[in-house]
């Protein structure tokens, strides 16, 4: 099992100019260990991170979009796997951190824990590039290949909570973050056009 903050550090090292979409505790960890102007936390409703990611991927085809979802969140929006596979944006990577609990709501266990096979669900939904990673060493090895695919990628990350991060709900849900992301995206696009 990997610690989430360590996972995020590794993704951050490899992200390049990608947008990274995250929500809840993953967003708080990113603010602490993987801060970046192209971090997108404005998800709003549980389960919606991958759908924001799909919209961003369709609207920004020149840029990789990395979603770092949770297993509980994915359960709230399972149809997203089919919708993403159907739309098939070549620039979308859908990571799902599997910690087996509704962490934000008191860490109660997910239904189906130990029986639910998210990579199998992704394959059945139409993803052809599917990964399951359990160690930081494997993540480092696999990430370059994952990020270089030209079709949607699904990747389960077996993880546990790492070091506690400060929960700044006002920031991730507030106008300051949305304005900062918009400014970051504008600057990144301008830099890409130079």
């Amino acid at each position: 099992m990997m610690k989430r903050d360590e996972v995020l550090k590794v993704i951050h090292e490899h992200r390049g100019n990608a947008v990274v979409v995250a929500h809840f505790h993953t967003a708080f960890d990113m603010m602490r260990v993987a801060s970046h102007p192209l971090n997108y936390y404005s998800v709003g409703a549980m389960g919606q991170a991958s759908s924001h990611g799909l919209g961003l991927a369709l609207g920004l085809p020149e840029r990789k979009i990395i979603v770092v979802d949770g297993d509980g969140s994915l359960l709230m929006n399972l149809g997203t796997l089919v919708t993403i596979a159907e739309a098939a944006p070549p620039n979308l990577i859908h990571f799902v951190g599997e910690n087996g609990v509704y962490e934000t709501n008191g860490s109660h266990p997910l239904p189906g824990i130990g029986r639910t096979d998210f990579p199998a669900m992704a394959r059945a939904a139409g993803f052809r590039k599917v990964y399951r990673i359990e160690t930081i060493a494997d993540l480092r090895t696999e990430l370059p290949e994952i990020l270089s695919q030209n079709e949607p990628v699904f990747c389960s990350l077996m993880m546990v909570e790492g070091e506690q991060s400060r929960e700044d709900w006002l920031y991730i849900n507030g106008p300051k973050h949305r304005a900062e992301f918009a400014q970051g995206l504008k600057a990144a696009r301008a830099a890409s056009n130079r």
Binding site: L54, L58, N173
Partner: protein, 171 residues
């Protein structure tokens, strides 16, 4: 009883193009299916994203808007009801220009939405109003003229809007 004809799908499509819409994000709705969604699905100028659930569409439209692309979410009133939390958070609180075209399933043609015997239809206008979302009604082809300006206002103000389709859309 005289049946006023509903709006034409071709008029709605023209309004979407006039409003610079590039993406239609949709879950089929019987009010707009034959007259609007099927023709849209064959229109080379518009990109169609087919959904499994309507609240996905709220987020997809928001992501597209952040990327600078204009889209509309086409769905049934029951889909709006199912997506209230996403519309509340992403459209209203996050001020994303999520533009929704919502067919009123089984609305009686001779009644206003507020007079419908269908609770899910009767609920729509007060629900949209209490959420503070701009709405327009499209009952006839003349009403379609309201659509492109309403979409333009949504993007200018970065606020969500709803167009309620009150009669079966004609092909």
């Amino acid at each position: 009883m005289f049946e006023y004809p509903g709006p034409k799908g071709s008029s709605i499509t023209a309004a979407l193009k006039a409003a610079n819409i590039e993406f239609v994000v949709a879950l089929p709705d019987i009010t707009t299916s034959d007259g609007l969604l099927w023709p849209l699905s064959r229109d080379p100028d518009l990109k169609l994203v087919r959904l499994c659930k309507e609240d996905e569409g709220v987020s997809i439209c928001a992501g597209l808007a952040v990327a600078g692309k204009r889209s509309v979410l086409l769905m049934q009133n029951t889909g709006y009801l199912d997506s209230v939390n996403a519309i509340r958070a992403i459209g209203v609180e996050f001020e994303r220009p999520v533009c929704m075209i919502v067919g009123l399933l089984s609305k009686e043609p001779h009644l206003k939405p507020s007079e419908s015997g269908r609770y899910a239809v009767r609920l729509m206008e007060p629900l949209i109003d209490v959420m503070g979302v701009e709405r327009i009604g499209i009952e006839t082809d003349d009403d379609v003229a309201k659509l492109a300006p309403a979409i333009a206002r949504a993007f200018e103000s970065s606020k969500p809007m709803v167009a309620l389709i009150e009669r079966m859309v004609r092909p």
